[in-house]
């Protein structure tokens, strides 16, 4: 009996061991699952992070693709536009990209990256970039010949001449002066400053750089550095009157190939050879209709451009101008057959209703324009490609000019300290320009030949720096990631 009980107990113990073993195995299994899951979760989160980053790379690939395409042909439509069903594929995912060109030539590109694919997307990221023409016009005044500034004008911004610059007595220039082919002469009490409360000018360098001497009048001053450079190979001499900085006061450093007699607050380095300023040519203009979406063209038939002219282009456009003289706005190309002084576009007495761009091969005359206003802050761009015959003259009294303005051609600048209000003006001609009696503008004037009588007020405005059509490519100026 006892033996049978013991046997039964042993049998029951065997079963109990099995139960315990299974229980332990279960615990072990649960522990293993938990441990493996914890490790796996960390790995999975790391992998998700990698995929999230890859999605941005995919979107950036779309941006790169768009930039390449736009550089080759701005009129091409995107192959896989955002919101469509087509996707551009990469190894790390799909992308869609679209772009839109604004009237000022800037291009906004949107690219959306999808991981792993557009059809089966786990991650989506969007990038938006802004492409703008590279800044070409960085000077308030640019002349391909010598430049004389006198009669107390307001000049805010840098001044450039391929030859020499003469600044009259008492003139204050808030900016820098570059004379790439000659001397800079400052009259009595003339000042080159970094800021000027009277003209709301701030943040300028106030440097003077000449490929020759800097001749300063008594009590004239330069707030920044003065550099009198000399051509390569010139033997410099600390007592030479050539390539010298004479009289006046330099508040920054002074470096000259010749002598320095000016009072220098910074470091004075006479007899030191430095490279002269680079000679900048007048930026050349090339018309491309792709730069001007929405342009109204005269003639209205055929491809818009200089090769498609009309004998009535100016007269038709003039009719439009006269009918809308108080609120002119928009973008116009006017291509006249055999342009001459007889086919001059007359803007006498006009006002603006917003941005106004005129590109023409005909002469332009602003007449006796009084203050030009705009209903909204606007940008006026006038480009005349008219080149008067060699045997003609263009003076401040008129003649055969590419662009001419008579008495008090003044554009509403708004508050000078506010670059975003009023009218910013860009006037360009590869031919001859003449203004009589003090034109006043915020912007820049570029001309192959410039004749301006009785001084002028010009306040450089960077709004005109990126005017289209002058041969430079687009550059990326803003990069943003948007929330999808």
């Amino acid at each position: 009996m006892l033996t049978r009980v013991c046997r039964q107990l042993r049998r029951e113990e065997d079963g109990y061991a099995l139960v315990i073993a299974m229980l332990l195995l279960s615990i072990m299994s649960v522990s293993l699952v938990v441990a493996l899951n914890a490790g796996n979760a960390a790995l999975r989160q790391s992998e998700l992070g990698v995929r999230w980053s890859r999605t941005l790379t995919v979107a950036e690939t779309g941006i790169d693709d768009a930039i390449l395409t736009i550089a080759q042909d701005r009129t091409v439509a995107p192959a896989c536009p955002v919101g469509g069903t087509a996707a551009c594929e990469t190894d790390d995912g799909d992308y869609q990209v679209s772009w839109a060109t604004a009237a000022d030539g800037s291009v906004t590109v949107n690219s959306v990256g999808y991981h792993p694919t557009l059809a089966d997307q786990d991650f989506t990221r969007e990038i938006q970039v802004l492409l703008e023409p590279e800044p070409t016009f960085v000077y308030a005044l640019f002349a391909e010949d010598s430049l004389e500034i006198k009669n107390n004008p307001i000049v805010n911004g840098d001044v450039y001449s391929t030859t020499s610059v003469i600044v009259g007595n008492n003139v204050v220039i808030c900016g820098s002066i570059i004379a790439a082919g000659g001397n800079v002469t400052l009259g009595l009490n003339a000042q080159v400053v970094t800021s000027n409360v009277a003209t709301s000018c701030t943040g300028q360098l106030g440097n003077v750089w000449a490929n020759g001497s800097i001749a300063m009048g008594v009590t004239s001053s330069i707030a920044g550095d003065a550099t009198a450079s000399a051509p390569t190979g010139t033997v410099c001499n600390v007592v030479s009157a050539s390539y010298a900085i004479t009289s006046g006061a330099v508040q920054g450093d002074a470096t000259a190939c010749g002598q320095i007699t000016a009072a220098v607050s910074g470091t004075s380095s006479p007899g030191t050879l430095t490279s002269p300023p680079a000679v900048d040519a007048l930026p050349g203009y090339v018309f491309d209709s792709a730069n001007y979406p929405g342009m109204t063209c005269y003639p209205s038939t055929g491809t818009c451009g200089q090769t498609n002219t009309s004998a009535t282009a100016v007269s038709e456009f003039q009719t439009y101008v006269n009918a809308n003289l108080a609120t002119l706005s928009g973008t116009y190309g006017v291509w006249q057959e055999n342009p001459s002084t007889d086919t001059t576009i007359d803007f006498d007495g006009f006002d603006m209703g917003g941005d106004l761009t005129i590109i023409t091969n005909a002469p332009v005359d602003f007449g006796n324009t009084t203050t030009v206003t705009s209903t909204t802050p606007g940008e006026l761009v006038v480009i005349s490609l008219y080149e008067p015959p060699a045997d003609t003259s263009c003076t401040t009294n008129g003649g055969d000019c590419s662009i001419y303005g008579a008495n008090f051609m003044e554009f509403d600048r708004g508050v000078i300290a506010d670059p975003d209000d009023g009218i910013s003006v860009f006037i360009y001609t590869s031919g001859k320009l003449a203004f009589k009696n003090k034109p006043i503008a915020e912007g820049a004037i570029y001309a192959g030949s410039m004749d301006i009588k009785n001084g002028f007020d010009i306040v450089y405005n960077s709004r005109i720096a990126r005017i289209l059509g002058f041969g430079t490519s687009l550059e990326l100026t803003l990069w943003q990631e948007l929330t999808v």
Partner: protein, 146 residues
């Protein structure tokens, strides 16, 4: 019975060790995850920044940047008197802050790199305290709008 008891003890010890290791792994995972999320957001702000404020230091960076296309001044800073330090973010120019991370072993997070005299690259290094050790997350960010 004795063998069974020994086995049970061993298994339970192993199980306990597994749980401890699991906790360690989970802790590291969570710390890494928090760090990664913070790093993603900080990277996004820096990548779009137009500049880095000159007053920025190794423990604080101020930048004009964009939040979903809208300009904003964003500040990130490490605060605290001893480890663990907290990482805070302000999207209103430093008026108010939100804590993003609370496990920094060092407040020195930012290193600035200049090219041609312009700060256009920032290295961000998070030294993160876990229950057992300090781990580091590092990234170099090129400022696209400088």
């Amino acid at each position: 019975m004795a063998i069974l008891s020994l086995s049970a003890t061993t298994v339970l010890a192993v199980a306990q060790r597994v749980f401890e290791d699991t906790n360690t792994v989970v802790d590291r995972r969570d710390v890494f995850n928090d760090g990664r999320v913070a790093l993603d957001e900080l990277t996004k702000h820096l990548r779009q920044a137009e500049s880095v404020d000159a007053a920025s230091t190794a423990s604080a960076v101020t930048m004009p940047t964009y939040l979903d296309g809208t300009g904003a001044t964003v500040v990130w800073r490490a605060v605290g008197t001893s480890a663990p330090y907290a990482l805070e973010r302000s999207t209103d120019g430093g008026v108010s802050y939100v804590e993003v991370l609370d496990s920094l072993a060092s407040p020195e997070v930012f290193t600035y790199v200049q090219h041609d005299g312009v700060t256009d690259q920032v290295t961000v290094a998070f030294q993160l305290t876990t229950s057992t050790t300090v781990v580091e997350l590092t990234t170099d960010i090129y400022l696209r709008n400088v």
